[in-house]
Symmetry: C2
Subunit: 287 residues, 2 copies
């Protein structure tokens, strides 16, 4: 049986690299083959699974430099029917692609805002006073290179290979340990994994409201990998909190903690328990 | 004496509206006049003050729909010499500007990614299947309208007035209570205000590390308006925490809390105590 996997396309994006790594792992560990389906936005990637048009979605959650991907968290909270099946972390190495013969010729650099931000220092050092133009994906930035010989685009080495574009500079990200965490989401309830993710809104203001949930997990020695606040979109100063626990939701201590948590939250959503995929695909080390 | 105020330009952005509101308040409450200086990015706005090229900077901090402005928090942490002089909250009402005669003619909509995100639902309902193109500011989006009659731009009513552009649709933001909090920053230490902002990094993992700081403030009944995590940029899973307290840092209880906090943090930075400006400028109600 083939499994359709929606991702933020077009081919050549970092999310495609994550989807390919997951597909490779799936092929090696089951008899299922993957069919990759590019989507124009993260919101549409997630909706395609919620609406039954694809089996799974691969979306970026968090980058080590730029932080959380807000649209992923907001959509997950709103859609309400998606469960995290797997997590994977990919190294991100940016390259500058261009048909210009050298750096001095570049006048404009196109890329996704996160990629532009991750290369900010390099751009200020080597391409001072040029124009930076945001695009919807790193791959979308490539369309400008053929028609404009003074244009550059920040994308992956894999994108250069796929679209046969020259690399003008390698590894231009400001921080060498640049990596992105992705989630694989589906409609199937997910249980039995090393990590559990959840989100909740709190009834009143933040102070006491957040102390108690943190205490509930800390007192049981349940490790919290991440906490992230997002606005409720009702009024300024009202937040949701997203948490990643280093524990399986089926453990008795986690079950007890979640039961104790309920009265301190307004709405509580559990996105499932899942494992982090060990990455060893040769594809990934290239992107 | 005139005071130079750097802001994310060009004229017509929501940040300009905030800078104008602050300038109006300053003119009414002191004998100082403001000179507004547009900057091409938030990072450059803040750096111009750190480097002594402008006296003050006005930058967006948080939007009620899209959440924190990451670049503002990251720059504030890195620059290390800026203090918050004042906060102000402005309502944000987006309009669709275009030289097209009606909505059916629109094929592309340009705007800042935050504005596109804040009108996502409206765009999907009334302009299905068009192309959304991100720009560096809402004002930058306006340059496409004269040369392309199928282009639209999301910006403020004030921008339409300034650049003499027709409004095709009014109040297109998905949530009516859309507002943005801005900070006015300068090099002068700021004391004596209703709010105090700080940020700290923690030595180990999150769980116990965040419980203690929250307890320190909660036990003294110091209200926490906001907590926000940002990556340290060292490795995935290491965070800084930004907090807004509803208290003056010179109060004895806050002083005691801050002293108790020090050993639980790796680096602790206090960005000053400041008041929230009451907005009553007629300029602001229009934008």
């Amino acid at each position: 049986m083939s499994v359709s996997i929606a991702y933020l396309g077009p081919p050549g994006t970092y999310t495609e690299a994550a989807a390919l790594a997951y597909a490779t792992w799936m092929a090696e560990n089951s008899d299922r083959e993957a069919l990759l389906c590019p989507c124009p936005s993260i919101a549409q990637t997630l909706r395609s699974v919620a609406q039954g048009e694809a089996h799974l979605a691969v979306v970026p959650v968090e980058n080590s430099i730029e932080g959380s991907v807000a649209v992923t968290l907001d959509c997950l909270w709103q859609l309400d029917r998606l469960h995290i099946q797997q997590a994977l972390v990919l190294p991100v190495t940016h390259t500058l692609l261009s048909r210009a013969t050298d750096l001095d010729k570049i006048q404009t650099v196109y890329s996704h805002p996160q990629a532009l931000a991750q290369c900010q220092g390099w751009l200020e050092k080597f391409l001072k006073n040029i124009q930076l133009v945001p695009t919807n994906s790193t791959t979308e930035a490539l369309q400008y290179l053929d028609r404009d010989l003074t244009a550059g685009a920040i994308a992956s080495e894999r994108a250069a290979m796929l679209y046969n574009l020259p690399i003008l500079a390698l590894a231009i990200n400001d921080y060498p340990d640049n990596c992105t965490r992705f989630w694989v989401l589906g409609k199937q309830p997910s249980t039995g994994g090393s990590h559990t993710s959840l989100a909740f809104s709190v009834p009143a203001n933040v102070p006491g409201a957040l102390v108690k949930p943190l205490q509930i997990f800390a007192s049981r020695e349940i490790n919290l990998n991440r906490i992230e606040s997002r606005p409720t979109k009702r009024s300024l100063g009202e937040y949701l909190f997203f948490m990643d626990l280093e524990a399986d939701a089926s453990q008795a201590s986690v079950q007890a903690a979640l039961a104790e948590l309920v009265p301190y939250t307004e709405v509580l959503k559990i996105f499932g328990s899942y494992n982090v995929l060990p990455i060893n695909s040769p594809l990934v080390s290239k992107t």
